[in-house]
């Protein structure tokens, strides 16, 4: 097992290397003029195309571009982000915890609800409950994220004045910026506890409610559907029939035996979902004014900010590789028959 983990961990740098080659390569598909044009936002700079190309070495070939970047990275310098106007690493230090906090606050309810409702649907197969859940799932699945998000912001926040947007209320923002609050983890829910400031933890939690709800509405359906079909599969298998024949109570059959095995596809699906949620909930971040990685990267893509894009892709690559490794380990925990050699 340990061997396997080490081998998998060693693959990560290779994955990151290839990812960075792809990004630099994709950028090269655009002409230097096209890339430089992304820098020009007003008529005053309309003549500056050539200076920009020269300054950022945009007319250099793939190898030179890659070398320029890689040389700095090997010295621990991921470069300056044009989008966030500070070194890339400084931005990541702030936005990664924010995104993780939001992703986790949605991920946990999504998975728990998905498993619970999926199990219910499977055990009430074709019954009323199953039908209702199926309809709800399809609705949740079909709703565009921005519709749910705007609706929550306009009705719950703007209309009723409940919860809030951003990460913290204005009063606490000022308070934390001027006081001696140590951002140990960058996640306000946890930092609040570590600093003995439960009001901060509470306020941060309150502000996670709306974006997390939007995510739960949109994403839960997937997990539920997978759980339902996987559960039905398991319930139809011989060992379940044996267990029932042995006279085991139905609850034990369903929850102890069948559900445990049915979790494998859910884990397979949930792992990468968490990774994607950390990096890719652009719309939610934008509408709830939640300063996360997704929005940052989306802007970088629109403005062709190579340093930011590369750092983002590497970070997500790293997260995905780690999550996949964790998923593999989770298989072993759920199903002891699985062994890695």
């Amino acid at each position: 097992m340990l061997n396997y983990i080490i081998r998998r961990a060693l693959q990560i740098p290779l994955v990151l290397f290839v990812l960075s080659l792809i990004i630099v390569g994709l950028m090269q598909l655009l002409s230097p003029q096209q890339r430089a044009a992304a820098f020009i936002t007003s008529d005053k700079q309309i003549e500056h195309l050539d200076q920009i190309i020269e300054k950022y070495h945009l007319d250099e070939g793939f190898i030179v571009q890659y070398k320029l970047w890689a040389k700095e990275v090997l010295h621990g310098n991921l470069g300056f982000s044009r989008i966030s106007k500070e070194p890339v690493t400084a931005t990541v230090r702030k936005k990664l915890p924010a995104s993780t906090e939001l992703a986790l606050s949605a991920f946990i309810p999504i998975v728990l609800m998905g498993i619970w409702l999926g199990t219910l649907a499977a055990t009430h197969r074709d019954g009323l409950l199953d039908q209702v859940l199926r309809v709800v799932a399809i609705i949740g699945w079909s709703l565009p994220t921005f519709v749910v998000a705007i609706w929550l912001v306009a009705w719950v926040y703007g209309g009723l004045g409940w919860f809030g947007i951003g990460r913290l209320p204005n009063s606490l923002l000022i308070d934390l910026a001027t006081g001696n609050f140590h951002p140990h983890t960058g996640m306000f829910t946890i930092d609040g506890i570590l600093n003995g400031r439960l009001d901060v933890t509470w306020a941060a939690l309150v502000r996670l409610v709306l974006p997390a709800t939007a995510l739960v509405i949109v994403v839960s359906a997937g997990i539920m559907r997978v759980m339902r079909s996987s559960m039905l599969d398991e319930l139809g298998k011989d060992y379940v029939r044996t267990a029932r024949a042995k006279g085991l109570p139905e609850g034990r059959v369903v929850y102890k035996h069948a559900r445990r095995n049915a979790l494998i596809p859910v884990i397979t699906m949930a792992g990468p979902m968490l990774g994607r949620m950390i990096g890719g909930i652009v719309v939610i971040e934008l509408i709830f004014n939640f300063p996360g990685l997704g929005e940052w990267a989306a802007k970088a893509a629109l403005q062709l900010d190579m340093n930011t894009l590369l750092a983002f892709v590497l970070l997500i690559g790293l997260i995905m590789a780690t999550v996949n490794l964790l998923v593999d380990i989770a298989y072993v925990v759920v199903d002891p028959r699985i062994r890695y050699e």
Partner: protein
């Protein structure tokens, strides 16, 4: 019990959040567009300017709403030598920086010399360099390239060193290379904010000496200390800016603390999504929000219980744009001019050199349609390419508007009548998504094609990079270009639009010696009345010569919470709005009632 707990939790969550308005001494503004840099020598955008004008100060500044009246800030008095080349400022003696250091002449010298030393290509340094040292307004690295000799560099440094001199601790002198009536207002732009030299040097910024000046030439200051640290004297000091939101608080040591700001804290939040900004205003989390378009303003903001829309047809901003006629279109491989001949299938490269063509276009330009289609009826036509609040704007010059008879008359005169007989085909391009450029092109097409079936104008959408390239190569026959003021002097517009060497005019090959003479004369004298008369002449000549067609200016608006006012608001208005302030008004003047 468990259910009970959940209920309490839910009630608590909701209850703790119901409609919290911002506090009486906190001001929260939500806008889009991130601050580029808080280093005054680097920042050249309004988002940064809106912060800098509150945490830094300049020697003099604009008085209230006016851009032609000024008041001293860090200076107390000034004088100009008879030859117009030496400016002497007496400095205020009781000014503390946010660090606690006392301001002296040394700081003024450092701040302005630092501008000239660094002068990065994308900063405002160029217009200070033009007044004080020359060198085409560019920094030493860009000016000399790799070919600088030590003597060249010494000379360049000497020019910087000589340009700002301390007579004593509280008297500073600027030595200009030539007379420049704009210099005084240039000193009101945030780039010439006075920095705490001691604090800056201690933290690794330029040493203020010859020793390391060349290392700083052309440097991107976004990677330096002052990019996100504040070394100012302003009524507010920066608490935090980390790439997005800005938090600032009232500065206790402010020299004018008698006029203490009512706001204790100011937060400028970047909220990119407009719908979110609107909901935040509604929920009481914002005191001012940016609303991009009039349609949203009318449908969603007006009538909102706790918000107000302020507007005035005097709020025209410090910007102007115009349709340019390219008089030297690049002929080679240019599909926009078709055959490149006057044969009905194209236009010659010098098509617009015939003033009759320009006039015919001017009489095909429907100002009212632009005002309706682009600005929903809320815009004011301009007589010349200069904001109406600027010195020299002459409201009495006639304005071209659509007139098919006149248009026909001039088209028939053009090219000795040949144009009317053969007709022409040309393309007017716009960058996709730019509705102003698109509407202008479509209006011209519609009105001109209606005059003569042999007239053909194709309107073409281009992606931004292609549009830029076509502009750079001089291929666009006609296009809209806009300019925002760097400093409140008419020369900043007039030169750009009308002088043969101006940024836009040069590109479209407009050159009229008479015009150049007027503009040069106006930039060589300082008497405002005489200059105004000259600019009025420029406007009249431009009416006859039609190098450009000024576009109507949309009237501005502000969306504020109901209880927000400012000191110094003109009668009948809740706030003042100075077009040269990036944030319209200063934070220190905000009052909440």
């Amino acid at each position: 019990m468990k259910k009970h707990l959940l209920k309490i939790l839910a009630l608590g969550l909701v209850g703790s959040m119901a409609f919290a308005a911002t506090g009486p001494d906190t001001y929260v503004q939500m806008t889009y567009g991130e601050v580029d840099s808080l280093d005054p020598a680097q920042a050249y955008d309004t988002a940064s300017g809106a912060i800098l004008e509150n945490i830094y100060e300049t020697l003099y500044t604009y008085k209230g709403e006016s851009i032609t009246e000024y008041e001293p800030v860090l200076a107390t008095d000034y004088s100009i030598s008879d030859d117009g080349k030496t400016y002497t400022f007496k400095l205020r003696r009781d000014v503390l920086f946010h660090s606690g250091n006392r301001m002296t002449c040394r700081d003024v010298e450092y701040s302005i010399e630092r501008l000239l030393v660094t002068n990065p290509g994308d900063s405002a340094g160029w217009f200070y360099a033009e007044s004080l040292i020359g060198y085409d307004g560019v920094n030493a690295k860009d000016y000399f390239g790799d070919g600088a000799s030590q003597a060249d560099l010494d000379k360049y440094w000497q020019a910087i060193d000589d340009s700002v001199q301390c007579v004593d601790d509280y008297t500073v002198q600027f030595h200009l290379i030539k007379k420049d009536p704009s210099f005084f207002v240039k000193l009101m732009y945030t780039a010439s904010s006075i920095l705490d030299s001691k604090y800056a040097i201690e933290n690794g910024e330029w040493s203020g000496t010859k020793a390391d000046w060349y290392d700083w030439a052309g440097k991107d200051l976004r990677e330096g200390f002052l990019h996100n640290h504040d070394a100012g004297t302003g009524a507010f000091k920066l608490v935090k800016w980390a790439g997005k939101d800005v938090i600032a608080e009232r500065f206790i040591g402010y020299w004018d603390y008698a006029n203490k700001p009512q706001m204790k804290t100011v937060i400028i939040k970047v909220v990119d999504e407009q719908a979110t900004r609107i909901q935040a205003l509604k929920a009481g989390d914002a005191d001012r929000i940016t609303v991009n378009d009039r349609a949203t303003l009318e449908t969603q903001i007006r009538g909102m219980a706790n918000a107000k829309v302020l507007e005035s047809d005097k709020w025209l901003g410090a910007a102007a744009s115009a349709v340019f006629f390219n008089q030297k279109i690049a002929a080679q491989d240019n599909p926009m001019i078709g055959s490149g001949q006057l044969d009905g299938n194209g236009i010659p490269a010098d098509f617009f050199t015939d003033v009759n063509v320009r006039k015919a276009f001017a009489y095909s330009f429907d100002q009212d349609a632009i005002i309706q289609d682009v600005y929903l009826g809320k815009a004011v036509p301009l007589t010349m390419a200069l904001p109406p609040s600027f010195l020299g704007y002459d409201p009495n010059i006639p304005i071209y508007n659509v007139d098919p008879d006149k248009a026909e008359e001039y088209f028939k005169k053009a090219y000795g009548g040949k144009l009317w007989e053969t007709g022409f085909t040309m393309t007017i391009a716009y960058n996709s998504g730019n509705t102003t450029r698109q509407t202008v092109a479509e209006i011209l097409k519609q009105n001109i094609e209606a005059l003569n079936p042999k007239f053909k104008i194709n309107v073409k959408a281009m992606p931004w990079p292609q549009f830029l390239a076509a502009y750079k190569n001089g291929q666009l026959p006609a296009l809209v270009l806009g300019w925002g003021a760097d400093y409140a002097d008419p020369d900043n517009f007039i030169y750009v639009f009308y002088h043969s060497n101006g940024y836009f005019a040069k590109k479209v090959g407009y050159a009229n010696p008479e015009m150049d003479k007027l503009i040069e004369e106006a930039r060589s004298i300082t008497d405002p009345a005489k200059r105004a008369a000259l600019y009025s002449k420029v406007g009249r000549l431009a009416y006859e010569d039609v190098p450009v067609l000024p576009l109507p200016r949309p009237t501005g608006w502000m969306v504020l919470a109901k209880n927000v006012y400012t000191k110094g608001a003109p009668a009948g208005m809740d706030v003042y709005n100075n077009p040269m302030r990036s944030g319209s008004f200063l934070w220190k003047d905000i009052i909440k009632k």
